[in-house]
Point group: D2
Chain length 352, copies 4
């Protein structure tokens, strides 16, 4: 009953099998190997376009490198206050950009709104040297609240961003969960909707450590190899990234794992909905369940061995916020979560 | 007969077995897991001291993070011109230090000399704001020419560096090969000789991707976690690093693999010594063989399927440099190199 | 009737006279000259402490260099949303810190409150590597709204900042105006109240271009000379800074000029208070007058040759904000503003 | 008899007169003033092209900002080992470029040679991510040894640099002295010969503090205003820069001052040539005299009140280097040096 993070899970067996299979014979170093080539080809097939691809070991590196590619040191990066790049990356994007400024765009459920973007942009006119210049809009899909943008919402925001002279970045640490939920094609949810660069995370979705930075316009990837090398993110035995990504994409493993994770959150949320005193503050759309629990229930669950995080409540509107005697928690399910765990968890809830 | 790099090799089977064993159940993310803890304990045992340890995926990241920890943007980093940080890391150390300057120190066979260090230091007096200030001395053990510093040589250089107000960094991408060659303890070759921070590479020595940054004075590691996170080098599923390093150190696997690699270079060099027209320009001490080959031999070897790199000849003294009709090459052996490959290679040589 | 900025004014005649007097004979370069020494001594006398002093040409440089001295790339800088470092320096503090993050602290009239600081600090716990760490609190005295902190308010905030492990920075672009308004000693308003580093601006107060970075604890200035040199802020003919600052401080010229500037704003505000339809949204405490004007009056003033800026109204509470038919403007008076200009301005107002 | 630096001199009276004349009435801040516009127009006239111009207070800032405009963090900057950017700017170019690497190009008398450039470029092939990429060639005119490149030499090096995909930067801290010596037009010595960006220093040539960054291709100056602002190099009262530069250019004041400075070095060198035991190691072409003096003469000169710097002798060929009993010194003359000073100096020499 560990619901702390999809990062707490191991790798899926298929991924490990692929590593074992790749562990033979010499391969060219620094990403010039056969496995990296195969993974790149697989991504191009999945995204139906001749994108430029590079692999790195962490989501923070992927996001920061991608943003630095499109943001000068005097650039502004527009995103929701809850965006991982704003709250949990220790100012890595700012460091990779050698300055820059993250400018927040409000909206419910961790999703930026068009009106919010318009208002935020108004404070950063193009031209005057005294303020940073709009450079990138970053949206998380799925969001840090487990919600998702529709394809139309992405397209609308992307159009606005482009009109303002910005590039569009998508933090896809849980991209697979969003695709599984929306049931659209990867192309539809990205470049056809206006996304310029995607950070596609496989780690949370079942890999050991594998994130792809995908530039849909190859011209945007100019000199990216140097940027990646200089930040120490070119591994010497590139086959490990290639093997992971290839296996993850093969036979839709990534979608099967994501559907499973989403389904567990669905089960969990549905079960919690029937527990007296429990409130679900916003729609459960992917593999994250946020819940307001009575303290007594929280204590019982933890006593029974369940683990999950208390979550910050700043900025929550009253209807979504805990009151005295309640706690606000986040539970994440992964490819490794079992229905038995969910059942056990709900049994504890019902026994109160 | 692939002698291009020890990076071209796969991982040793023991390392993969450890990954498989670690692939079960939830673990805390971001390096707070049991495997990372075990690996840290293993390193402390091997180095006989309560060092601070952090794991990253690449040698460039390890070196650059370590150097940035002890070098301000106005600092000078003293190293041999052939040092990997100077020649092959795309100015990553400079970027991580936000400026800084690499200052070269001459010496034969890729090893700095004390006289060379004195001369280089003389150009950077302490105090005047117009020049960078001596901050770090970096030595590679083994060097980029496959040679090694004796413990006394390390101690002498380290004393000089400390006297000049610098910290001592060791690039240990091939640390295991050096230990195997010198037959001294890791403690003797590092902190007891004055090394302040070591980048210990397991990747070239049989891991998938695992480098440890080891601060022998824990005070020197202050805030290192933030530096590492901000550069995108904290992987979420830390267990993979922990499992690799633990397996690599267990039962002296690292030394056995290094001894094997060194022995293959020994075999190769001894065999080449008997080939007419072949010259070995400097002592073969670890797992790298540099050789001057007749062009005809080189052509025959490549035709037979051997691969290795032509190597730059700038700065070579005439006695070590190729003349017309000769090529200068580098051959690297690894844990995965077989005696059969060496025998096959030498057979081609002898057949000319 | 130019009230756009105190930057639009020339230099006071006494400053120019000092430059002329200093323009003779050789002087050591790069700040080792007699005039720089004299200015440093004068500042130590004025601040009654053995502070470390360095001169630069711009307020942005002064603020950014000072903040970088106390803020690592993973540090957070806490300030009011209206702070110049947040709104008008093109992310220079972030760039000088190689990352960092400006975290805003709310409060009325451009002044942070203790409660606001507590709330903002709560989002940045010390320890976890995922978020920036509190490093500096920056307060502007006078503020960007022309208001001032009392000595007690400064001391309270500084105590909180120190308790949170932060250093206290004061942006004193209009320090003289604040001193003139509060009628306290420079020592009382700075280091005795807990300020660690002050950026004292003479430019807006009557100099050509002269800002002093003053570290009250000399230990905090360690290596600052290198930081300043590396950013290109060590002028070769240092005498010009020294002569300006010495003249500015001599015989309390700085206070006389500031009192004059403040008095003109007082005259202006008092006059405006009697004009029907004009509202002054917050107390006029130094040399800035913010006013809500009927559009018709604004048009008449501009037609008569008056100049001043329209000012952003984001974040204003309704009582302080313009409604339809009104404009929100900022008017700044300087040492060069004449009573005749104020009278002429008010005459236009009264003639409507 | 102060020959330490042209930075030790005051400003020429004409420059101060211009400041006094500019000290009246309001002007727009941040370089939008009439004086800055006039100076820009004057520079365009002098250089006979529609260049983009920005003013900063120091040569280090000018060079670093110009280089950062054309050099990514993974770029290489090629220059002579004696270049000021390599020896005396505390790694400011590297810091402004966020990394980068200065690569030295050998040559006599502080001048790069074409062969030297070819050899240095050979070590940095375009493409591989492991090494920095050629980005800029920087030449100093006049050089740090007081020598000058002919227009043909500049054009040859610039052609090579362009062919290698680099931009050409000229450090013109003593540009006026070079023009005065070569007697060519500013356009001939810069953009017509292939220079892309010039840092034109007026400070050493008679101003207080005024350096112009001049982009001959306006497209190269894209976003330069943000870069300059973010580094704290946009002064608020821009009129001071504008007034200095306008006065410096007016009626060829800059050339008259430079011719005077050069002539004094000529007088000094000619006089020294007749002193027994004195050697002049290379041609005196502008306003710097390097000399090898008998220690006894040096002592007598200093006793008589003369001042000048001992100069590093590393890298000097034996014919140009001092032996036992000799010292190696640099003497600089400026617009403020008088013939009487030279005569007095030579009198001391002759009296030995």
């Amino acid at each position: 009953m560990n619901f702390t993070s999809d990062n707490s899970a191991p790798a899926s067996p298929e991924i490990l099998d692929a590593l074992i299979a790749a562990n033979k014979g010499p391969q060219a170093a620094y990403g010039e190997d056969d496995y990296t080539r195969a993974a790149t080809a697989a991504l191009r097939a999945v995204f139906e376009t001749n994108c430029e691809v590079a692999f790195v070991a962490t989501g923070t590196a992927a996001n920061s490198l991608a943003l630095a590619q499109v943001t000068p040191s005097w650039g502004g990066i527009f995103c929701h206050p809850q965006a991982h790049i704003n709250t949990n990356e220790c100012a890595a994007p700012e460091a990779f950009c050698h300055g820059a400024k993250i400018i927040t765009v409000p909206g419910d459920f961790a999703k930026m709104t068009g009106d919010g973007l318009t208002a935020s942009l108004a404070r950063y006119p193009r031209g005057p040297i005294h303020t940073v210049q709009p450079a990138a809009m970053s949206l998380s899909q799925a969001t840090e609240s487990g919600t998702i943008y529709s394809v139309d919402e992405i397209a609308t925001l992307a159009d606005m961003a482009h009109a303002a002279g910005m590039k569009v970045h998508m933090d896809g640490a849980r991209f697979a969960n969003a695709i599984a939920a929306l049931n659209v094609s990867p192309a539809e949810m990205t470049w056809r909707a206006g996304v310029d660069v995607l950070c596609l995370g496989a780690t949370k979705g079942g890999a050991l450590a594998c994130e792809a930075v995908i530039f849909f316009d190859p011209a945007l990837a100019r000199d990216f190899g140097f940027r990646r090398k200089q930040s120490g993110h070119v591994v010497s035995k590139g086959r490990w990234f290639g093997a992971q990504m290839t296996a993850w994409l093969q036979d839709e493993l990534w979608l099967r794992l994501a559907r499973h994770a989403n389904a567990q959150s669905r089960l969990l949320a549905d079960g919690l909905a029937g527990i007296p005193g429990v409130r679900i503050p916003w729609p459960v759309q992917t593999n994250e369940v946020f819940a307001i629990l009575p303290q007594k229930l929280d204590a019982a669950l933890r006593a029974a061995g369940a683990s999950y995080y208390f979550w910050p409540t700043q900025g929550l509107v009253p209807a979504q916020a805990p009151v005295n005697g309640e706690v606000f928690v986040r539970m994440i399910t992964s490819f490794a979560t079992t229905e038995a765990e969910i059942a056990q968890f709900l049994q504890v809830c019902r026994a109160i």
